[in-house]
Symmetry: C2
Subunit: 213 residues, 2 copies
């Protein structure tokens, strides 16, 4: 059985956007500030390097009870013993991911449209990452911005946990939560901050404020 | 138990070097000409595309009894049901690969030096890919060229099947086989040929001639 996952504040790493600090230091600070879930995304690293980093991050997160997901690479997730895998629409199909990863791993899927949300209803996914919520600089994309109304629309067609991603900051996090997202995923908002810990605290406050209004 | 593998002529694909023909057509022709083993190497493709191609190639190769190995991506190999995985020194460590891939999959490892050959003796690998045998254009590398003497030197320190790779063509294949290689791996020599089938036949003849002299 899977444990209850807290999707409130989901840190997605990006070596490009997170260049200022060491990855472990960044993750440690973000988690100290309240990040409840971490996804390692390493599109450039070799497999050995990716796996080695995943193991270091797991050593950091395990004692804190914060789950680690691996972007795209089921093999890295399995070898490291990570808590899950997050895949996009161009990554390994979810059914294959589930078959390899087993029932106990978390599997997340990126969705950009209602069609993909509806498709996902039949798939063995644990949560949806919906985006881009707003225009974003950290991930180049040509996909249409959903905005709070788009998030609300997708939300109304699924009962799965839904995490919004893309251009979310402390200013706009509240409206995304009020639109029905279970949490927010952030890259730049934490990576580019001088104090990822403070940034995480501020974002988490915005999420909680959004829930209570 | 693993079946006996014929390492004589090992085709390694490279989308860059193999752009002229469709990948399936190229592989089909190369195998018709005698290629005895195929490795799919897709450093640029997304995982979904890589997996989809792997499945198409397996459909082609299965009836012919030619094994398919996947470069680097154990997850793609597992999802597709490929016959094995080939990893380089910067890919997933061999022990992790073996743990994920199980005993029945072929696992190959690239070695560039005596040190790596000796390390590999303690690892659960089925064969070694030793190179670069000669200077090569299809894979950018700063590693020192081994030449026939280097191949011979590595050969004398392992009993594992050893396939030489890098800059091998019909002219120099014989000396590599006489140096003790069990087979040759080629990229450009097949990909860039107007007739991969004829090129494969010529290369295989050179391998056989090398064995008998």
């Amino acid at each position: 059985m899977k444990r209850e996952i807290d999707y409130s504040l989901y840190l997605v790493t990006d070596r490009g956007a997170c260049r200022e600090k060491g990855m472990l230091e960044l993750i440690g600070e973000a988690v100290a500030g309240g990040a409840s879930l971490v996804q390692l995304r390493e599109k450039e690293a070799g497999t050995a390097e990716f796996l080695s980093l995943a193991r270091e991050v797991l050593d950091l997160l395990r004692p804190l009870g914060v789950p680690l997901l691996i972007n795209d690479r089921v093999d890295v997730a399995l070898a490291a013993g990570a808590d899950g895998v997050h895949v996009g629409q161009d990554d390994m199909p979810v059914r294959d991911v589930r078959r390899l990863a087993g029932d106990s791993m978390l599997v997340g899927l990126t969705v950009n449209s209602l069609e993909q949300v509806l498709e996902a209803e039949a798939l063995p996914v644990d949560y949806l990452g919906a985006g881009p919520a707003f225009a974003t600089r950290s991930k180049q994309t040509s996909k249409p911005v959903l905005g709070p109304r788009g998030i609300q629309h997708l939300r109304s067609h699924t009962t799965r946990p839904l995490v919004a991603i893309g251009g979310i900051d402390a200013e706009n996090a509240g409206e995304i939560i009020r639109a029905g997202a279970d949490g927010i995923a952030v890259i730049s908002a934490l990576c580019s901050s001088g104090s990822p810990r403070l940034a995480a605290e501020t974002l988490l406050r915005a999420v909680r404020d959004g829930r209570s209004t």
